[in-house]
């Protein structure tokens, strides 16, 4: 329930008067509220900064440190206040969460510090409001990537090989970490040199040289010194082939190596030469052969092994692949539009170059890329993102010195869940829950029907089983585990958006609802993480649950960066939230975090 909705409980209960004349059975006795109703102001001292708040405010979320009796451990009798030796700046945000029901992420704070504070106060990060969620997720992802690089760098390491390493292992090491031995370093520089030579040769051989004696026409150098150039080319290819084969031999997993980007580049670099050897020298295929020679330029990408910056660029591009894709798509769209326009505009004119739409493509592309600055301006956001992440990566890299080759190649690490477990003690129900259950119980008595869930309903419908007991036991047995909670509701994540803020007088912004009533489900079954509204899902409503057994349930913290965009927004119907929305969330044991 939303933080403030709890205060409407008296109203909801009062409204139940409308059911009384219709009830066919007597209403159950209302729960007795032992606690005194009077509100008091509590003092909370956080490292010297004194906060004051109503006790009711803190009681809204009984499963946090401040809302439960756990805070009594921090009570200072002499000063009559609760003292926490924590960051007072952060506490402001925590307290605001209690007050408004919305948790905001302070942008200037370190994300780990923030998460630690949240963990201390027993608040899960998933309830961060939409306004700050994206920022939070981005920062978290960045942090995790950085940590991943860090740990990989540590692991990859320059630790010396065990003395009984095979030749293969030593060779692989030499290739991956060239500075470990002199031979490796020499090999590293030699290959680098030959890559440079090969690329330069490719360029130079097209430059026009002075014609040979007896001819007037300018010849490209490639034809004049064809022998020299072909020797050079052969030498380079031989060295590259040798290097590739050595790497292939040394690789611990040949399959993986063969599939890696760098090896593909290597293959593409040397393939044209071998294809040229194989192909006969005739006119028809020579055209295709010439095209193949173009691929020789890909040798320049072999420099990636030698330049970490280049690899980082590659990683960044990979990370921004979707945005780049969109950029390309929008470019294509624009090209097609304008090519069509140009074609039809110039259609009447004689002797026009725009003989067809594809012919206009060239003109359009040239114009557009010439004015590429304009496109950049429009997509500046993307570019800035690109540059920023590149900058951060580079900065990190150069600040911390050497980073292993492997970890940069394995960039864009897929994010796994944290697997963190936060134990939460569920001791008893809050008064609010008692009252809520009583209310629902009253409704059941009025209509003479009971709440049930979809499963039981379909069972009953199908089998048409008689016996109140039978169905009850079915529903009981469907719940493994000690806690059988009344009114178990699925917790959904998305904050509720008030329907149609046109006439919405109350706060048009999101009302935070947090009910985490999730029961223990049989191990293995996973509830679909759909964002159904409060009304859609019904679970078992147990009647007369007198045993509220205490249980320590742990909840795996879901990964923070699971994309949320796929889930639709139901505007008119409230949605419950506060749950992991990752598909990896295993609902073996789920936590009961009821928030008022």
């Amino acid at each position: 329930m939303a933080a403030g909705v709890a205060t409407w409980m008296p109203f909801a209960r009062a409204a139940a008067v409308g059911w009384l004349p219709l009830a066919q059975k007597t209403m159950p006795k209302p729960p007795v509220d032992k606690k005194s109703r009077s509100d008091e102001i509590l003092f909370v001292n956080v490292s010297g900064l004194r906060f004051q708040t109503w006790k009711n405010t803190l009681d809204r979320y009984p499963d946090t440190l401040l809302g439960s009796s756990e805070k009594e451990f921090f009570y200072n009798e002499e000063t009559q206040e609760y003292f926490f030796d924590r960051d007072p700046e952060m506490f402001r945000h925590i307290l605001n969460f209690f007050r408004t029901g919305k948790l905001h992420y302070p942008r200037h704070e370190c994300i780990q510090a923030f998460e630690e504070e949240l963990a201390f106060y027993g608040i899960i990060p998933e309830i961060i409001g939409d306004c700050c969620m994206e920022e939070y997720r981005d920062r978290k992802k960045e942090n995790q990537e950085r940590l991943a690089e860090d740990t990989e760098a540590e692991n990859a390491g320059d630790a010396p090989l065990p003395p009984d390493a095979t030749l293969r292992e030593r060779l692989w090491r030499a290739f991956e970490n060239p500075h470990t031995s002199t031979m490796a370093l020499v090999f590293y520089y030699v290959t680098g040199f030959f890559i440079a030579v090969s690329v330069i040769a490719n360029v130079v051989e097209t430059v026009p040289c002075r014609p040979i004696k007896g001819s007037i026409k300018d010849l490209p150098c490639g034809e004049k010194f064809s022998v020299a150039f072909s020797c050079l080319d052969t030498a380079c290819v031989l060295i590259f082939s040798f290097e590739y084969l050595m790497r292939l031999y040394a690789a611990p997993s040949r399959c993986d190596f063969a599939r890696s980007v760098m090896s593909v580049i290597d293959v593409v670099a040397i393939l044209p030469f071998y294809i040229g050897l194989v192909m006969p020298e005739n006119e028809e295929v020579s055209g295709a052969f010439v095209t193949l020679r173009v691929f020789r330029v890909f040798r320049i990408f072999k420099f990636s092994r030698h330049s970490q910056g280049l690899r980082i660029l590659g990683c960044t591009l990979q990370a921004c692949a979707s945005e780049l894709g969109f950029l390309l798509f929008s470019l294509t769209m624009a090209v097609i539009i304008f090519a069509t326009v140009m074609f039809y505009a110039e259609k009447g004119t004689k002797g026009t170059t725009f003989s067809s739409i594809p012919a206009s493509f060239w003109y359009t592309i040239v114009t557009m890329t010439t004015l590429g600055l304009l496109i950049t301006a429009i997509h500046y956001q993307l570019l800035i993102q690109l540059l920023m992440s590149l900058y951060f990566h580079l900065q990190y890299l150069f600040m911390w010195g050497h980073v292993g080759l492997s970890d940069l190649l394995s960039c864009c690490v897929p994010q796994d869940g944290d697997g963190d477990s936060t134990p939460l003690c569920v001791k008893n129900r809050s008064a609010f829950e008692h009252q809520h259950h009583h209310l629902l119980h009253c409704l059941e008595k009025t209509t003479n029907h009971e709440f049930t869930d979809e499963v039981t309903y379909s069972e009953v419908c199908v089998t048409d089983s008689v016996g109140f007991r039978t169905s009850r036991s079915t529903s009981l047995s469907s719940q493994q585990g000690a806690t059988t909670t009344c009114c178990s509701r699925r917790a959904k994540r998305r904050a509720f958006r008030l329907a149609n803020s046109t006439v919405s007088v109350s706060r048009g912004s999101v009302q935070e609802l947090d009910t985490l009533h999730v029961t223990k489900t049989p191990a293995g079954t996973q509830y679909p993480q759909s964002r159904s509204s409060l009304n859609a899902r019904t679970e078992n409503l147990k009647l007369n649950c007198d045993d509220y057994t205490a249980a320590i349930i742990s909840i795996p913290t879901p990964p923070a960066n699971t994309p949320d965009e796929s889930l639709p927004n139901s505007p008119a119907i409230p949605g419950i939230l506060r749950n992991s929305r990752s598909s990896t969330f295993n609902t073996q044991e789920t936590v009961k975090i009821s928030s008022l």
Partner: protein, 216 residues
């Protein structure tokens, strides 16, 4: 090229406009602020103590900073308590019952008056309030159609998955039972007096009135 820029930037401007409109709307709405009468006055008019009024108002103001509740918000809040079914119809009737001035919004005074009647009022007050809840068109009589509406609304709150399953026209049976009990002269409508008398005779219902003990 300029055209491209033009179109694209215009598009972004247009995209931004709806949200700005919304923000403007919201700003407008929140500027319409209603402040309730003084605490003493309310205390005199209702059966609540000052402290209780304070607690009530704090909760009210937290949910509705502008000081009034409109029907959408009201329905939303009430629906929170009944996640299984659809509480909007019943909430609509409740809204009309609370909104004594019938201006489409509930001020804090109306809210508190209603609560005072229900929680602290005399038995007769409560029954009268309930009668007005049922009497949808405010003509002084409850006829079958009105009662059917109410009963259906209540059954809607149960949702689809109930045990036993809702078969046949259960609301109609319920309405028939109600009229049997309440309509003494069998003229097809229930008047206020008939209603009050019948309720007072109903022991079960009187026992259930304990529902309202220590709600506040």
């Amino acid at each position: 090229m300029g055209a491209v820029v033009g179109t694209l930037t215009m598009q972004t401007k247009q995209r931004r406009r709806p949200s700005r409109d919304k923000i403007d709307d919201e700003l407008e709405m929140t500027m319409v602020c209603h402040r309730p009468e003084g605490l003493e006055q309310l205390e005199a008019q209702t059966n609540f103590t000052k402290r209780e009024l304070q607690i009530l108002y704090r909760g009210f103001k937290n949910e509705c900073p502008s000081g009034v509740v409109n029907e959408e918000t009201f329905k939303h809040i009430y629906a929170q308590f009944f996640p299984h079914g659809d509480a909007s119809t019943y909430a609509h009737y409740l809204f009309n019952a609370f909104d004594t001035t019938s201006n489409g919004s509930i001020k804090f005074e109306e809210f508190v008056m209603g609560l005072s009647t229900l929680l602290r009022g005399t038995l007769r007050d409560k029954l009268e309030w309930t009668f007005h809840l049922y009497d949808i068109n405010n003509d002084g009589y409850i006829n079958r159609e009105e009662m059917t509406e109410i009963v259906r609304a209540i059954y809607d709150m149960m949702g689809k998955y109930t045990y036993p399953a809702l078969k046949g026209d259960v609301p109609k049976q319920h309405v028939d039972a109600f009229f049997q009990k309440m309509d003494k002269n069998k003229n097809g409508v229930v008047t206020l007096e008939e209603f009050i008398v019948a309720c007072q005779e109903d022991e079960m219902m009187m026992r259930s009135m304990q529902l309202f003990e220590n709600v506040m």
